[in-house]
Amino acid sequence: MSARAQSTAERIDTTAERRRLESVVVRFAGDSGDGMQLTGTRFTEAVALAGNDLATFPDFPAEIRAPTGTTYGVSAFQINFGAREIRTSGDQPDVLVAMNPAALKVNVRDLRDGGLLVVDTGSFKDRDLKKAGYEQNPLTDGSLKRYQVVEIDISKLTLEAVKATGLSQRDALRCKNMWTLGLVYWMYDRDRKATVDWLTQRFAKRPELAAANIAAVNAGHAFGETAELPGIQGFYVPPASISPGLYRTVTGAEALSWGLVAGTQLAGLKMVFCSYPITPASSVLHALAGMKQFDVLTFQAEDEIAAACAAIGASYAGALGITSSSGPGVALKTEAIGLAIGVELPLVVVNSQRAGPSTGMPTKTEQSDLFQSVWGRNADSPVAVLAARSAGDCFEVAVEAVRLATRFMTPVILLTDGYLANAAEPWRIPEFAKLQPFPVRFHTDTAGFQPFLRDETTLARIWAKPGTPGLEHRIGGLEKDYNTGHISYDPDNHQKMTEVRAAKIRNIANDIPPQIVDQGRPMGRMAVVGWGSTYGPISRAVSNARKRGLDVSHIHLRYLWPMPRNLGELLRGYEQVLVPEMNMGQLKAILRAEYLVPAAGLNKVSGQPFKIAQIEQAIVAGLEG
């Protein structure tokens, strides 16, 4: 199947003279004031419109606005795009654009040997070098000889390009990023039109800025075409074979927000989304705060405990309460989640994981809250735990979380991470009408009513909401009698209730699809088992290993608790089980505990996603070593 992307713009065919590439990894790096995220986002769009598959990795500084020119103020955006299926943002950039010495210093070690390094010499003044902590000028001291260095005075060229618009020097220099983008557009033969349109719209009220930025894009592009600099060469990356449909780029935070809205709409419920800001979870709050038309209320609570409790209150009153945070904030919600388990109310808890322990590295990614999700509560307190594997997958998983929470009257923890939240990827937009509705039926029958009547199949209790005449009842965190719902301290009853709570959650396994094997055989020498945002690198690493002829399969879990009912048997069919995780071995421990399979861990806890090569090496070592 061959795919072709149609954008509104006409594509000029200049492919003839260009070198064809299957995929390429570009990283834009500069000061946080240099607009690298914006540059990356625009480039992503252009690349997507050209029909490439792609993956991105935005890497923000921890500080809001670090002093200009410092290493900790460096902001970077990496994109991997290609003519084949792209599964990660790329192990190593082929191209690094460094807008200043600090950006160079922080990023250059990642560039592949022989890679292209574009630097703005206009920002390599002595002061700039000192701020970045360089003793000597790296452009002249020979330290960059492993790379193909292209020095351009982008600052000066930009100033010239936008002179006509009469901007102040300061404002004019802010167009540097667009000049650079223009140059890169030329290099990869990507269309400027979408960017030009976007700039026009963005600066509708300040046309001089629009003009200047557009002039910069065009000048950068023209520079590529005319300046015959060694290294600045035209490439061609053909479109990828992508399933047909309507596409957009989406971040995990966006897809998650839309998925939650879709889910509550499918359930026929009002959403009360309760959160307290925390990096990297806040973007979901921000997105939903702007979606009031869907009967979405957002509540910025005084803290995470209040957020969880307000969500529980909302569910009690017959809406769907959702709460969202990151690890340390979810830790604070623990006691409240216990209440939701005890009173058996639906609740969705979104955890955008970040590097810990404690405050850790808030802007860096990690998947180390799995233990907390599955087992991190006092008492026997089972809940369902799901994880999204990619930005787009966040949508589906969010819908599923809402479905399970309402169907089983239980909290559901949905795990994403800082990487998923921020990374953008192309996404085939679903059609709402094609999603299966799962309308909630509130209990209204007064005959034989008690609040803990259970559905025989799901074991879920009924949902009787305040305002319903004749169903007045009291619930609470104390143990309840199985038959009447009243407070009970009876020993046998507590045993029975504990068991039914556990059975209800275990039962979910009968309501979810059996585990499929993503790649490879359903048995064999090795299964690589992953969850969450490691999907991309695992998938590519397994592909690569399989191309080498190794007998290895990839299994990726969406359901972390309960696990799919066939998983134990499936895993027992492999000689080795390798579990790559961005933590010290949490899924590994759960798999071992559940299935007694000798799962081994591959653990990366650096705040950075896995590189494909790391996983590939581990597979090879396991099978050939």
């Binding site: 149609q6 937009i429 305040p466 009291r474 609470g476």
Partner: protein, 342 residues
């Protein structure tokens, strides 16, 4: 809060649940629940639209004993849970019952924000100046020097005043009642209910087991008349058996002083008139402690828009602006999209 009037109005006893009351014999909570039953009946409340929410503590057992909807939650968090309830369904008539530990120790922050946001609920704080349920430790309202299992030599912390706190965080309705005042307390509760927005009511409640007689200094029969002042908006701040005592503003020291009509040239005109809408006066009244008379009744009432109404208004405005049903498909297709064909 809605209070639909029905033809056959419910009686006080109709608000009792079928559960046996399990407070200690003689506990002040028995008297309070009676006043609540009476207030609800007087208001013509319905069981189905009334929700009692509580945290943990002796006081917090309250919902189990009501025939309305009820949610006994976790310690200190009832204000947050109630906020969620009101956001989900602003039509419900929500009452929160809390103890001094629940409300002012672990739950102080949630109470602060509930009052500040002005969520339309009635918050009843049963202040017995002790942790009842956990067997008698001192609480944030316990007086200096309170001997308790955790302070065998006496507590060394200055207590917080519930009403001064409530005023300090911006509550728009602040009142006080006494457990045993079966005539007056229901009236205060009805005022609280009538107030749109967060209504804060402190109820002095005797814990017969761990802090018996804590309030005798101003509630015991022989002293009550002289030790309490019952507030009425627009009426002079008079008290005492013959209403001969009154409160005057000591201008030099900017504080209230207790005077006797007819003595030292004090006349009616010297006596301050209660103005519920004056926060400064409310603050001074709230701070009165024996030997000054303790202020009972509505200290402050100055309505402001409620939180959930404002939130809902934003939603409604957005929805009103939409020409057609909100369309998730359209939203997801906003911005740049592209089509891939086979």
């Amino acid at each position: 809060m809605n209070a639909p009037t029905k033809i056959d109005k419910l009686q006080p006893k109709d608000f009792a649940s079928d559960q046996e009351l399990r407070w200690c014999p003689g506990c002040g909570d028995y008297a309070i629940i009676k006043s609540v039953h009476k207030a609800l009946a007087d208001l013509g409340a319905t069981r189905e639209n009334t929700v009692f929410v509580s945290g943990i503590g002796c006081a917090a057992r309250f919902p189990y004993y009501m025939s309305t909807y009820g949610f006994h939650t976790i310690h200190g968090r009832a204000p947050a849970i109630a906020s969620g309830i009101k956001l989900a369904n602003p039509e419900l008539d929500v009452w929160i019952v809390s103890g001094d530990g629940d409300a002012l120790s672990i739950g102080g922050n949630h109470l602060l924000h509930l009052l500040r946001r002005n969520v339309d609920v009635n918050f009843l704080l049963f202040n017995n100046e002790i942790y009842g349920l956990t067997k008698g430790q001192y609480s944030p309202t316990s007086r200096l020097g309170t001997k308790s299992p955790s302070t065998p030599l006496g507590s060394v912390e200055l207590p917080v005043s519930a009403t001064v706190f409530a005023l300090g965080v911006g509550a728009r309705f602040v009142a006080r009642g006494i457990d045993t005042q079966q005539q007056r307390l229901p009236e205060v509760l009805k005022r609280a209910h009538a107030h749109r927005g967060a209504s804060f009511v402190e109820i002095f409640q005797n814990c017969i087991v761990y802090n018996d007689g804590a309030f005798d200094g101003f509630t015991a029969k022989p002293v009550a008349d002289e030790a309490q002042i019952h507030l009425e908006h627009g009426k002079p701040l008079l008290y005492g058996k013959d209403r001969k005592r009154g409160l005057r503003l000591d201008l030099r020291r900017l504080r209230l002083e207790a005077v006797t009509l007819g003595e030292a040239g004090v006349g009616e005109a010297d006596i301050l008139v209660h103005d519920e809408t004056n926060r400064t006066l409310a603050g001074m009244l709230a701070a009165l402690e024996p030997p000054m008379p303790v202020a009972i009744g509505v200290l402050y009432c100055d309505p402001a828009p409620t939180y959930e109404a404002a939130v809902q208004r934003q939603v409604d405005e957005v929805r009103a602006k939409q020409s057609r049903a909100p369309d998730l498909d359209a939203l997801m297709r906003r911005g740049h999209t592209w089509t891939v064909t086979a």
